[in-house]
Symmetry: C4
Subunit: 233 residues, 4 copies
């Protein structure tokens, strides 16, 4: 099957399969999308299809206004959240949503994940925000679209930069993560899940545990992401 | 070995093996049955046979009054609970029972599992009920049959609909789950185990965590199961 | 290599490998022995040999007085505990010792594991005993032999029957389990580890959780082990 | 590719891969080095290279003053901590650093890991120390070098011997472990992670759990490491 979106579908497919391989989803409890900025479309997992049977050609190609551009299947029920993020955050290339265990548990607890250590600071300098549940009328309305609004509102209120904080918890629901491409969105989902488990255990061992001090946050973030970064090749 | 129940045995066998593959059982701590409504019989795992050596032809075919219709082995010791559910709940096609870790722990704690998030609401709108332990004379009597009665009494008292709430905890014992077929009963067992772990972690992170609000429960349940459902293909 | 203890070595080897396959040990943190009552000898894992390189012919054959009967290697450092149990408990055919996670954690907490549910009662009717640490002079003396005495003292004090209660925790140390043969000792080690995790989680969910009531203990134990047992084939 | 450090690179490579196989790292969250005392160099994992693609020839050879002796890649960002340890502790042959779950959680809790049982005492007689976070000016300065100083200061203050206590937690960061060679450093990392989880669970089961008594600490440590050790072959 020839398609001008073949590479996009493959990128999206690989990222979805990686989500599964990393133990971040059971059944169909997750979805990843990948964007093609030049053509202003994104590929996303079809709704309710098990990872075991998913194929690259099943990926649905959508525009930012939620029209199907190519594909025979219905896209993920969370598609409108993905499109809202692509439309508003021009630098992101991929989005992932899961119901991963520890991330969901913090979301259900309606708690931000405090920055307790360098594993967290290697990736971002802020607590991982937990957006509050939406007002009833927004839930009853265009729910998935409004979930996108909810994320942006949360970032605006807290003055967070989506280029640095590449993850969020939706209260009572679960995590969304993004990045420069779909693989990075999956990576951030795994990092969030790991940091969520570490923060949970930290508070079990010491309920008075304190946040990492500013000098260490800065050191670890900068050595990986700063102007003079010396991590990696 | 030819048998008019060949397909039923295979369905039942596959579901039992899936229980094992999903990490929901160790040794012989679980059993799944599958019903054939036309012939008013069900297939069930033989008692005490390890999953490693189980074969489709080992599945025992029973009628609803607990008579062996076909098979050389003794059926699961929990057979009478299965038959009681099939006899009284005409819409179900499969039943699964396990001693899965987190489900059993809530059962041993004698606590309902509160609906804390959308992972739960994607599947049912109610807390997952924990039926209280039986009166002594019922335990000493026809125990497994009475376990079936206990489940139905619990659903009656709380006005629950078995078509929507497809799972229950038996206090101090463990979970039973059911569904339109055996595979769905196993799926529900896995969902219950996942939701049980999430609820446990949620309360560890925030002992004052509150139940999901009604609008979100409704939204998530309806988008998967309502008249205008838009989840899946 | 021909040996009159070839079968015994193989039984012992298989049981040790199963311990590893079940995730009950890391590195060399465990050992299983198997007895040959007719010849009054037992085979045991050599000390400090990784499971990855263990071979059936490495198993050391010992008499009950801790003399090597056959074998070139030094037996497990816990050998004298095994021999003491074989010498005093004539019905047992295998013994297993590990540092499995949840069993050790209860031992380190110096707490008996309360009988909270039917998973426990399917195997024994009593709380799983945690023997207190030994007096200093016994530790400094013939330590592993005295660990055997400590186990028997614990059973005597509490009037426990080793034919029913096939497992014990040594305070601050870890679990020992036994059974009619080495495979059953390994099985009991896995059951203990599972029940230990369930009891831990139960108390986390409900710190006021109560022990299983007598009628349920009796029902579940008897249906598997009583005169009129109807579990298994 | 011929190199006088071929064997050193292979030892280092194998130890890094073992870290991954033991589940002690995700992505690139860890590094192991191995020293060649005769040539006063050590091999270390290159920075930011995934374990899936790491090859023996990628290992970077460094001298103790952090000059690259051989290799085209940038060494681990933690290299200066490794070199500081090699320079000051002449008996060690390998160093490992990870962000393993339970070790990091204790580090984030800024708590020493109490010696609760024999699993711990089989390896060391002391609580596992958690070094406090550094002063801000040290963090802003030569951070990784200063992490080495921080470890040595912690050992000096507490009069610990690095030949016996082969592991440490850096507050808010994570574990470092070492040993006579790289494989032993990885082994100690796994032992630390296991003991960290056991201690966490012990305190959850019994918040008043007490440290192991001296006679048992001595007995277990001596039988494995003392003059008259009788553990192993």
């Amino acid at each position: 099957m020839s398609s001008k979106y073949k590479l996009l579908k493959e990128e999206c497919y690989e990222a979805n399969m990686e989500l599964n391989a990393l133990g971040l989803v059971i059944y169909t409890f997750g979805n990843v999308s990948a964007v093609d900025r030049e053509n202003a479309v994104f590929g996303i997992k079809p709704s309710g299809i098990p990872y075991e049977t998913l194929k690259p050609e099943d990926i649905v190609i959508m525009d930012y206004d939620n029209n199907v551009v190519e594909g025979n299947m219905r896209p993920s029920s969370d598609t409108k959240t993905h499109s809202y993020l692509y439309k508003n955050w021009e630098n992101i290339g991929g989005v992932a949503h899961t119901h991963a265990m520890y991330s969901v548990s913090w979301a259900q607890a309606q708690r931000d994940i405090p920055i307790f250590g360098t594993t967290h600071a290697d990736h971002l300098t802020q607590d991982i925000p937990c957006a509050p549940p939406m007002a009833d009328e927004l839930i009853e309305g265009n729910y998935e679209h409004n979930t996108g609004i909810q994320i942006l509102d949360c970032f605006k209120e807290r003055s967070l930069d989506y280029n640095e904080v590449e993850m969020v918890l939706i209260g009572n629901h679960g995590p969304f993560a993004w990045g420069k491409n779909a693989a990075k969105a999956v990576y951030n989902t795994k990092v969030l899940e790991t940091v969520a488990q570490m923060a949970y255990l930290t508070l079990q061992i010491n309920p008075q545990a304190t946040r990492l001090k500013d000098s260490l946050i800065k050191k670890h973030y900068e050595r990986k992401h700063g102007k003079n970064a010396y991590y990696g090749q």
